[in-house]
């Protein structure tokens, strides 16, 4: 079992989430996927995640609504929003709802990994653990 961060990838593009999951797994993370906001909420109710990668534009429940509901279920989880088009209003709304970061697709994998690392560090620091080593030891 992986000792890295637990990630949930939420995107309606099936291929996007499966390939990203492969990338995260080989990078030592534990990654699950969800195809809709509702599916994501169910998974978050049943398991604790460190970082959620959440698509903004999805049918039925959009990313902003999903973000608000995820934060109600688990206020500690860090959420990185992914979107196909940048929009200031959406970015402001994400920050208001407690989102950690807002990334524009297509995003280079290195950048995404760096953001996930930073989000994970933040979650650890909030819990009083200074580094991943502390987290692994505990």
């Amino acid at each position: 079992m992986s000792s890295g961060p637990r990630i949930l990838i939420v995107d309606d593009e099936e291929r996007f989430r499966t390939t990203l999951r492969k990338h995260l797994t080989v990078a030592g993370m534990e990654a699950d996927t969800a195809g809709s906001g509702e599916d994501a909420l169910q998974q978050i109710r049943g398991k604790t995640y460190d970082v959620v990668l959440l698509d903004v534009k999805m049918p039925e429940m959009d990313g902003l609504e999903a973000l608000a509901r995820i934060k109600k279920i688990d206020p500690q989880v860090e959420v990185i929003m992914l979107t196909g088009h940048a929009c200031l209003d959406v970015a402001v709304e994400i920050m208001k709802l407690g989102g950690y970061e807002y990334l524009l697709k297509p995003c280079p994998l290195d950048d995404l990994m760096a953001k996930i690392d930073a989000a994970y560090e933040r979650k650890l620091m909030r819990h009083g653990k200074r580094s991943r080593t502390d987290a692994a030891q505990s």
Partner: protein
């Protein structure tokens, strides 16, 4: 005569002040202006002359002053109206410009979203291929299937981008319509036959209700076929299985021929109705629709001098009305030249 619903694709956005100032364009405005500015002071002046000839100097002087005051005030009023007119023109231009910018902004964000999603997948697949190939030269046989799968996915996503850009080009390209005399019932029936097989397979009943007295119209038949096929496809999608699609034609007394496509499908929620003709607006899942079909239909119908209307109720179904003018030959030709 049948009443058609409100046209969701083209509501007026003119501000109330601009509408109010429209009276200035009216012919009667110039008539009133003529009376107020010139005739009223002239009559006052004539009265003053008459009074002067009768030796009533005081009254004559008062009438003259009134004439002058009347002329001065009316001239000022006319000047203010002209300023208001110029301001209205400037406001109209600003409104038009901001509407254009809003439309471009909406279109750009739609394109960005539709193209960036496949690009994100292409990027990920390419990086995955790089990962597989990195220091794994000797074991390439083991990774061959995955490499093949990733490269196929890249081709698939490029096709998706290509479909979007080609549809956009079609949308933007103003193909000049070739106007021919067309029997609307025949055009409709050709398209109904095309989708009939699929409808039967899905248990959907296709009902024809053509008005045989509908006269021939002057239009571009392939463009109308494109519109009808798109609407029939949407109806099939909305019904899914086991429902009814009714295709009708009728003529209106005020010189329009109407094609009506009614389905008993899922219907369109009220909040989506005003967006359905917007480019890239779709409620279909990823890869099932680009959201350009209805906006292309709207563009085609407008270019042919017609209108497209919709009425819908969630859970009950949707009806599209496509209206084309009967039009005399000259009118249709001049309409085409303008497009």
């Amino acid at each position: 005569m049948r009443m058609l619903p409100r046209w969701h694709g083209g509501q007026s956005t003119q501000p109330a002040t601009a509408k109010m100032l429209d009276v200035m364009r009216h012919r009667s405005y110039f008539q009133y202006r003529l009376v107020l500015l010139y005739l009223a002071p002239l009559l006052n002046l004539l009265l003053a002359v008459g009074l002067l000839m009768r030796g009533q100097i005081l009254f004559a002087a008062t009438a003259s002053l009134l004439a002058l005051a009347c002329f001065g005030c009316n001239r000022r009023l006319a000047h203010l109206v002209e300023i208001a007119n110029a301001q209205k023109y400037a406001l109209d231009q600003q409104l038009l410009q901001s509407q254009k910018l809003a439309a471009v902004g909406e279109l750009s964000s739609g394109i960005a979203h539709e193209i960036n999603n496949p690009l994100a997948i292409i990027g990920q697949e390419a990086e995955w291929m790089q990962y597989l190939l990195k220091d794994r030269g000797k074991k390439i046989q083991e990774w061959q299937e995955e490499l093949k799968d990733s490269s196929q996915q890249i081709v698939k996503q490029i096709d998706r981008c290509r479909e979007i850009t080609h549809k956009l080009l079609d949308f933007a390209r103003k193909k000049e319509p070739i106007i021919q005399r067309a029997e609307i019932n025949k055009l409709l029936e050709d398209m109904v036959k095309l989708v009939e097989k699929e409808a039967v397979q899905k248990g959907i009943i296709l009902v024809r209700s053509y008005d045989e007295t509908v006269p021939a119209i002057l239009t571009d038949p392939p463009l109308i076929r494109q519109v009808v096929l798109n609407l029939l496809n949407n109806a099939l999608y909305a019904v899914g299985t086991d429902g009814t699609i009714t295709v009708s034609t009728f003529a209106e007394q005020d010189g329009w021929v109407v094609i009506e496509i009614k389905d008993t499908g899922c219907g369109i929620p009220q909040e989506h109705l005003r967006k359905i003709f917007d480019p890239f607006f779709t409620t279909k899942p990823v890869g099932k629709g680009t959201g350009l079909g209805l906006s292309i239909c709207h563009g085609i119908v407008a270019r042919l001098g017609g209108r497209i209307n919709v009425e819908s109720k969630t859970g009950e179904g949707t009806t599209f009305f496509v209206r084309f003018p009967l039009g005399r030959e000259k009118e249709v030709s001049s309409n085409v030249l303008r497009t």
